[in-house]
Each structure stands twice: as structure tokens, then as C-alpha cells.
């Protein structure tokens, strides 16, 4: 690469930074048109671009920058007031410059472009309205003198702000030059005196040449302290390399430490201690180099918001707090898209039009607030607006309508759970699809992105008062806390973010604690079935067979079973490993590109002994093991409350039907438990009934309804006594246990063999129904239990009746 290439590259990097700042400053200026400091800074930036492009012979770029600069000059001189049109034109200039720079970056030359429209627009805006022109120029010169002299009195009191140190300021402070003398010099400069301020002042006799030299030195020093001069630009690749080397150093340090434990030599020990400390500090320092303030990312947002708000006729004010909050560069990049998406959502859907806001008694200008802060080793980022908020009822309806949740579940959810439904895939409340958002892919993608980097996202909203989305993300991805486990003789690292708890089963528990549903191992963790995944078999390692045997053969020499309870993207499962070693901070190393399609690994790391260990991707592992996503876990505070029909924790009545089969019905259908004497069972047509509280209660025998066996047999079975020569099948003497159930405003008695218990259990359908009238089979209280389909049972009863009626009629 030759010199001029280097200069161009430098120019491009610098200009890109400057353009981002320009966006921000122009927005500020639009709000505070009289902020001269900002105006001066904008002017300087454009001027620099113009100057450098002239030097590098980028003529088109120079022409655009020149037109922009002239317009800015008018503004700076107070001849024009900034309005929305001018701001838009200036922003367009920034965009044009950005495009040209991108072109130069790609091809090295300016290429063919026509910016004459923009230039003429800028030129047109420079025209001062004739009437105002004259007087304004005069006013400008009298009341608004040059920035230098205006800031002069303050400069004496305050230290000059770095980068803004003018020689005039310094001379006033140090050499007793009066503001009037400076003004005079400025005036003669304006009138065309090409000389420097110092020279003019010396000529005027206001100052000695030596003082000017001193002042220049002070100026140099002051500028040296400014941020732009005390920083250097670095290639990220170099930092990554440094990071690797430090990681390596840490490993060597660890090895050395291990050796010294064996050697009794005090001098060595102290040296090692120092090596230890310095290495840690070095590691910390290098980590810090990768940290960037979140403000870098936010700086682009005001511009986005302005353009969006203008596009949909809204007024939005952006407020920021905690811009200096730092996080790892890779994370900044990872949250860029989700953050932009959320901000767009707020402007497009959240904040109302000014007239709507006024009607609602709000400030016509909407407020979008960004807040970032550190808390508990994580970075919290909040995006809130004071817009219309989310309509819980509508979300509830839509979620049900789109079959994302059952209506029954929706009815039980709290408002907070409801608003978080917007994170479900396929959910979008936008009634009209706009260019900005509302395509139905949105919040779930946001959630996905955030979870991918080990973060969480939560939403709160009050109708009419706005929405707040809070993201919690880790400080860095390069070093993560992880649990080290062993399986089949190899170590694996499990990211701590996915870890819920550790369960160890010993002795008897190890032999009998693991149960099977169609061969799939599960463990009952506090009453809930936790699907188990054996790491060795999931990874098909050579030791897999042995491990499977351990799980499958109850009581086969398994002294201890270690279960690591994990969760990712709402999938919860227990990972069975041979050994749980330790928690450690590990340095994440990327895997070769070609190995990335093995989704169960998130990367690799190097352990203290220099050996490589694989980092497990918990979500990938769950997917591989076919662990279904569990909707309850997607929602906060949903631990106790049931949400879906698919897997709910609910109260059940347990009983046995015929032949000892265990069955259950939901408690909410139950009205009473009764023991009805067999003698009180009467017959009405083909239907068994009993008189119950002044009504006729139809009776259905559970075994009969399920198997369709003859009525008489069933009654006999249930009573457990042979009815012999009694009236057909009527158990006169026995008491019949009856569940009085109500479904669809219709009561009926379900005759069972024995009522067992009322339990609260998670109903996870473990296997499909084997016969009609059964919803599915679950394991409740350690036994396979059929959950009855009450409406179907009723239907069966009716069918019996109608069949009977038919028979009677014929």
C-alpha cells in the first residue's frame, strides 16, 4: 500500500466518525438553533472534509462539502436561522458525503454522480430574504460578535475547553489583552487581513511577541490534551491477537503456579505471586480495550428517530442517560439491530400523532428515552416511550386468535404476562404494515438476538402511558462464567447463563429416581417431569452405550447420577453428565467456520492445563434432543400459574377406574365427591340415574364409558361384589364412589372404583391416548395416569341414550 492509499484510508475512517457526529449535532442544533458551539463544530467538520477532499482531488465531494459549508457559514454568521428545511438539506448533505465516501472506499475513485440538485438546493437556501438581509447582517455584527470574543469573558474564568482553545482566549487570560483589542483584530481579519491573530495584535501593540509565542505553546499543550490527540486508532484484529496472547499467558501462569506448589523456594514464590498479579491486571486491561461506550451506538439513533418521526408526522424527543456505559465491542454490534428495531417500533407504533397526544392531555412532543446502566455484572438497557402503550385486551385476543395460547390460559394470565406475549413468534399487533415495522417479524427476532448473546428482554406497558423494554446483557462475550462438566472422559463447558441448578442422585435415588416414558428418561424435579438428556449419548461418543445402560437399566451399578438442569429459549431439561467439576471463567474461542454447523457447540476454550474443551450450546443441544419449547418459561412470573393447554400445572382428582387403572380429571370440573348407596341407583330408560339434591343426576360408569362393556358387568366390577341374582347389575348393598362433575352447565355423576387423592401436578402429555375418552397419558405421582376427556365421555353417554331411545322406539 502506498502513502496516498494510507492517507485516503485515514481520511475515510476519520470522516465516517465525523459524519456520525454530524448527524447527532444537526439534530441537537435543530432543537437549539442558537447553540453556537454545536454550530461551530459542525462547520469545522464540514470544512475539514472539504479541505481534505480538495487535497486528495475528490472534486465532487469537495463541491458538495463546499455548498454545505457556505450554508453553514450563513448560519454561523447569524444571517440565516436554522429551520427544518435547512436541517433536512444539511442532513441530505451528510448522506451524500457518506455515499461518496462509501464509493471511494469500495472503488478508490469518486465515480459518476450528479449532485447538482443537492448543491443547487443548498445554494438556494443560502439566499437571505432580501428585506431581512441588510438589517440582520448589522444586527449580527453588533449583538452577536465572533464566537471568539463572545466566549472571551467566560474563558477568563473557566479553563478553555480542549480543542476549542483560541489564541485570543489564551492571550486574554495570560497576557492581559482586552476583549476590545481582540475584537479589533477579529474585525480586521474579517475585512481581509490575511495575517494570524497574534501578528495583528503585536502590530497593534496590544501584546509582546514573546507573549504570543508563550500563548501558542499553551495552545499546543491544551490541544494535546484533547480527546482526539490522546487516542490512537487500532485495528480490531490486533486487539484480538493481544487478547489471545493474554489468554495464553494466563494459561502459562496457571501452569507455573501448579509447579511452584511443589517447589519450596520462597524467592520463587514471591516472583510467581507478582507474575500472577501482573497477568491478571494485564488481562483486565486488554479486556478493557475492547469495551466501548454504548453512546457510540446510540449516536445514530436521534437521526433515525428524526427521519422516522418526520415520515409519519410525529414529534419525538430523544433523551439519553448513561451513554458512557461500556460493553464489549462485539456485544455493541450484536445489540445494534434489536435496539434500532425497538426504537423504530416506539416511534412508528408507540408514540401517537401530536393531535392525538394533545387530545389525550399529553405533551404533543413524544418522549423516547434510552437508559443504560450497570447492575449485577450485567448491562441494563431500557428503551421507553410515553406513547399509547400496549392494549392488553387486543394482545390477548390476537394471541388466542392466532392460536398462540389457549383462551383459557389467556384468561388466567396477568397483564404483564400478556404484554410479553408480543415476543412470541408470529405475533404482531400492527394493523397496517408500514415501511418501518409491522411485518409480523419483530419482537421475537429481537428476543432471539438478545438471548443469543446470553441476555434477557422484558416488556412492561400501561395502556395510554407507554412501553418500556428492558434488556439485560452480559458485559462481554469473550470471557464467560461456565460450569465444567465431564462426560465420557472429556470435559465440556456449559455457559452459566443457561444453568438453573444441579441435582445429584445417590444410592437408592440414583437407582430408582429416573423413570421412563416410552424409553425417554425423565426425572421428577419438585413434582415436574424434567426430560433428561445424557450428554454422552447425545454426542454419540464411544462411551455412549455404557452411559445409556446406566440410565436405562434401573439399579445397574449407578452409584451416582449428576443432573445439570439447563434452560435455553424456554426449553428446560436435565443434562446427565459423569462428573460436575467446577465453575470457571473461560475464554471463548471460536470454532472453525466449517464446524459451526454442528449446532451443539458454541465454541471451544483452553483449560488451565492447556487442553482444549468444547463449550456446549444449550439451545442446540435441546433442539438436537428434541426438547420442545415450553411456553411457560417464555413468560416471567409464570412459574406457578399455568398458561397453556399443552403443559399445565393444575389440580387433579385421582381415582381408579376398573382393573386398577389410574385416571384423573381436572378438579375445576368437580362439584362434589359423593358415596351413593347402590340401592339409590335407579334406571331411567337405558340410563342409570340417582336422585341427588332434588334433581335427577345421570350416572356414567367410567369403565363402561371407556370400554363400552355391558352395563351390568361394569356395575359389578365397580362394586367388587357379585350382584348375583339381584336386579340386573344393580349393586344394592355397596356404596358407589361418585364424582359429581359439571361440564357445560350439565351435571353428571362419574362412578369410579376408588377415589384416591387430589393432587397438583404438571400435566405433560407423555404419550397419546390409547383409547377414546382419554386426552393423553401422563405420569402423576409416579404412576401412569390417563387424563379423561370429560366432554367426550358425556358424548359417549348421550350416544348410549340415543341408541337406547332408538331401541325402545323400534
Amino acid at each position: 500500500m502506498n502513502d496516498s492509499d494510507d492517507i485516503v484510508k485515514e481520511f475515510l475512517v476519520e470522516s465516517h466518525e465525523n459524519l456520525d457526529r454530524l448527524d447527532r449535532e444537526l439534530i441537537t442544533l435543530e432543537k437549539e438553533p442558537n447553540d453556537r458551539e454545536v454550530l461551530a463544530s459542525i462547520f469545522r467538520t464540514i470544512h475539514t472534509i472539504k479541505g481534505t477532499s480538495g487535497f486528495l482531488a475528490f472534486d465532487k465531494l469537495g463541491a458538495v462539502a463546499h455548498a454545505g459549508e457556505s450554508l453553514l457559514g450563513r448560519l454561523r454568521d447569524g444571517q440565516l436561522a436554522l429551520d427544518r428545511e435547512i436541517t433536512s438539506a444539511l442532513l441530505a448533505t451528510v448522506d451524500a458525503v457518506r455515499q461518496m465516501l462509501a464509493g471511494i472506499e469500495a472503488t478508490g475513485v469518486e465515480g459518476e454522480r450528479d449532485d447538482s440538485a443537492l448543491i443547487s438546493r443548498l445554494t438556494r437556501l443560502q439566499k437571505i430574504p432580501e428585506a431581512a438581509a441588510k438589517s440582520e447582517v448589522v444586527v449580527a455584527q453588533e449583538t452577536v460578535p465572533e464566537p471568539v470574543s463572545k466566549s472571551a469573558p467566560e474563558a477568563a474564568a473557566l479553563p478553555a475547553s480542549p480543542g476549542d482553545t483560541s489564541i485570543g482566549d489564551i492571550l486574554m487570560r495570560c497576557a492581559g489583552v482586552t476583549p476590545a483589542e481582540i475584537l479589533l483584530a477579529v474585525k480586521s481579519q474579517k475585512e481581509g487581513d490575511p495575517r494570524h491573530m497574534g501578528e495583528i495584535l503585536v502590530e497593534q501593540g496590544a501584546v509582546r511577541p514573546a507573549d504570543v509565542v508563550d500563548a501558542l505553546r499553551v495552545q499546543q499543550a491544551a490541544r494535546g490534551q484533547s480527546a482526539s490527540d490522546s487516542t490512537i486508532r487500532l485495528d480490531v484484529g490486533l486487539l484480538d491477537h493481544l487478547m489471545n496472547l493474554v489468554g495464553e499467558l494466563v494459561l502459562v501462569r496457571n501452569q507455573v503456579l501448579q509447579f511452584t506448589n511443589r517447589i519450596e523456594e520462597s524467592g520463587l514464590a514471591t516472583t510467581i505471586q507478582r507474575l500472577n498479579r501482573i497477568t491478571s491486571e494485564l488481562q483486565e486491561g486488554v479486556m478493557k480495550t475492547r469495551m466501548q461506550p454504548i453512546g457510540n451506538l446510540w449516536s445514530k439513533l436521534p437521526r433515525t428517530v428524526r427521519d422516522l418521526a418526520l415520515g409519519c408526522g410525529k414529534r419525538v424527543r430523544v433523551e439519553m442517560e448513561g451513554e458512557e456505559t461500556e460493553l464489549d465491542k462485539t456485544l455493541i454490534e450484536a445489540i445494534k439491530d434489536p435496539l434500532t428495531h425497538l426504537v423504530r417500533n416506539s416511534v412508528d407504533h408507540g408514540i401517537e400523532r401530536p393531535e392525538v397526544r394533545e387530545a389525550a392531555g399529553k405533551d404533543p412532543e413524544g418522549r423516547l428515552a434510552l437508559r443504560a446502566f450497570h447492575e449485577g455484572g450485567q448491562v441494563n438497557i431500557e428503551i421507553s416511550d410515553d406513547g399509547a402503550g400496549l392494549d392488553q385486551e387486543r394482545i390477548r385476543d390476537m394471541a388466542v386468535q392466532k392460536r398462540l395460547i389457549s383462551a383459557e390460559a389467556a384468561g388466567r394470565m396477568s397483564d404483564r404476562e400478556i404484554v410479553n406475549l408480543v415476543f412470541l413468534p408470529g405475533f404482531s399487533t400492527a394493523e397496517t404494515v408500514t415501511s418501518v415495522s409491522g411485518r409480523g417479524v419483530g419482537m421475537d427476532v429481537v428476543k432471539n438476538h438478545i438471548e443469543k448473546i446470553g441476555g434477557t428482554v422484558d416488556l412492561q406497558s400501561k395502556l395510554g402511558q407507554g412501553v418500556m423494554v428492558r434488556m439485560k446483557i452480559p458485559l462481554t462475550l469473550a470471557i464467560i462464567p461456565a460450569l465444567i462438566v465431564s462426560s465420557a472422559g472429556e470435559r465440556y463447558a456449559v455457559p452459566q447463563v443457561n444453568l438453573l441448578e444441579l441435582v445429584g442422585l445417590d444410592g437408592e435415588q440414583a437407582r430408582n429416581g429416573i423413570e421412563f416414558i416410552h424409553g425417554a428418561p425423565v426425572y421428577r424435579l419438585r413434582g415436574r417431569l424434567l426430560p433428561l438428556v445424557d450428554l454422552a449419548s447425545a454426542l454419540q461418543t464411544t462411551a455412549a452405550q455404557a452411559a445409556t445402560a446406566k440410565l436405562h437399566g434401573p439399579g445397574v451399578n449407578s452409584e451416582r447420577v449428576n443432573i445439570v438442569v439447563l434452560e435455553a429459549d424456554g426449553r428446560r431439561f436435565g443434562l446427565v453428565v459423569d462428573e460436575i467439576n467446577d465453575t470457571e471463567e473461560i475464554v471463548v474461542k471460536p470454532l472453525n467456520q466449517q464446524l459451526k454447523n454442528i449446532s451443539v457447540y458454541a465454541g471451544a476454550t483452553i483449560m488451565g492445563d492447556g487442553k482444549v474443551a468444547l463449550i456446549l450450546d444449550v439451545l442446540g443441544l435441546a433442539q438436537r434432543a428434541n426438547i420442545p419449547p415450553d411456553i411457560r418459561e417464555r413468560l416471567p412470573d409464570a412459574g406457578v400459574q399455568a398458561v397453556t393447554g399443552a403443559a399445565v400445572k393444575q389440580k387433579l382428582v385421582l381415582f381408579t377406574g376398573g382393573a386398577g387403572a389410574r385416571m384423573a380429571v381436572p378438579l375445576q370440573l368437580l362439584r362434589r365427591l359423593e358415596n351413593i348407596p347402590g340401592a339409590e341407583v335407579e334406571r331411567s330408560g337405558n340410563q342409570w340415574v340417582t336422585q341427588y339434591r332434588g334433581q335427577i343426576l345421570p350416572l356414567i360408569h367410567v369403565s363402561q364409558a371407556l370400554t363400552g362393556h355391558g352395563v351390568e358387568d361394569q356395575w359389578n366390577l365397580s362394586s367388587g361384589e357379585p350382584s348375583g341374582k339381584d336386579a340386573p347389575g344393580l349393586p344394592n348393598t355397596a356404596m358407589l364412589p361418585v364424582l359429581v362433575l359439571e361440564h357445560d352447565h350439565q351435571s353428571f355423576g362419574l362412578v369410579v372404583a376408588q377415589i384416591l387423592d387430589i393432587v397438583e401436578s404438571t400435566l405433560e402429555p407423555q404419550s397419546p391416548a390409547t383409547r377414546a375418552g382419554v386426552l393423553h397419558c401422563s405420569v402423576i405421582e409416579g404412576r401412569v395416569t390417563e387424563l379423561l376427556d370429560v366432554p367426550a365421555l358425556l358424548g359417549a353417554g348421550e350416544m348410549c341414550e340415543s341408541a337406547a331411545a332408538h331401541a325402545a322406539g323400534s
Partner: protein
């Protein structure tokens, strides 16, 4: 193609192979590899190369040659390929040879299409034929991936 080119040679199952020397970063002694379950068979494991985690590929499997006997310790050729740094396991390192284009001959059609994509051809050296490998192709892991 320039007239004289440098190749780094190595042996696999007594056959001589060569790769453009500029693509080879270094040759290191064999060290313990961390196996990668579920990865294609050609992946021998992961190696700690001065703090960098590098994937090691078994050249014998890549080139469909018989397995190396257990008592032979392979050498590791660290190669800069298109997909990142890769370590290739070979039996033994030869030396650096300079060859002329004239000695090159393309492969016959009798070889399988996959092998022909990996082996560009042979250079007829005085003592032996040198198989010329396509560095990027030989560092490719066949996308067998996840499927069990």
C-alpha cells in the same frame, strides 16, 4: 503459472504429496487432540496452537487412504486455508522442492470426482511422483454435519 514453484512435501502411506509452501504456516509436533463428537470422521480433533483453537484434519481420511497404524505418530502441518487456519495430519514431513511446470501432469479420469477435486495432479520428480494438493479443497470438511 510461473515457471518454478516451491512445494513443501510430506508422506502419507508411502506416497509423496506436496502443497504450495507459502500456504503452510508451520509444521509442529503432534500433540494431544480434543475429539469433537458429531463431527465428520475426517476431523481428528481440536488442537491448542499457542492459545488458538485449531481444527485438525486427518489427511489419510481426507484422501481415502488406509488408516495410519497406531504406533506411528503423525506430524501437524498448519495451513492457512480459505476457511481459516487448519491443521493437517500427515505421516512424515519431506522437504521443500522446486518444480518446473513441465513436469506436471493432470490426473487421469479414473480417480473419483471427489479425489480429483482435492488432488490437482502430479509432478514427475526424479525418484517419485508428487501429488499436488489443492490447499483450500483439502482443508474442507465435508458437510456431513449434524445428521447422526
Amino acid at each position: 503459472m510461473s515457471n518454478a514453484r516451491q512445494f513443501c512435501t510430506f508422506y502419507l502411506d508411502r506416497l509423496l504429496f506436496g502443497m504450495e509452501s507459502q500456504k503452510i504456516q508451520e509444521v509442529v509436533t503432534y500433540r494431544e487432540l480434543r475429539p469433537v463428537p458429531l463431527a465428520p470422521a475426517v476431523v481428528s480433533g481440536l488442537m491448542n496452537l499457542r492459545g488458538q483453537v485449531v481444527v485438525a484434519l486427518e489427511l489419510r481420511r481426507q484422501l481415502e487412504l488406509p488408516e495410519r497404524s497406531a504406533d506411528l505418530t503423525p506430524v501437524c502441518l498448519v495451513v492457512r486455508a480459505a476457511g481459516g487456519t487448519v491443521c493437517l495430519l500427515a505421516d512424515e514431513v519431506g522437504n521443500v522442492v522446486e518444480v518446473e511446470d513441465e513436469s506436471f501432469e493432470a490426473l487421469s479420469e479414473t480417480l473419483s470426482a471427489r479425489l480429483r477435486s482435492v488432488i490437482l495432479g502430479v509432478h514427475k520428480l526424479d525418484l517419485q511422483l508428487m501429488h499436488v494438493l489443492d490447499t483450500d479443497q483439502v482443508c474442507k470438511i465435508e458437510a456431513i454435519g449434524q445428521s447422526s
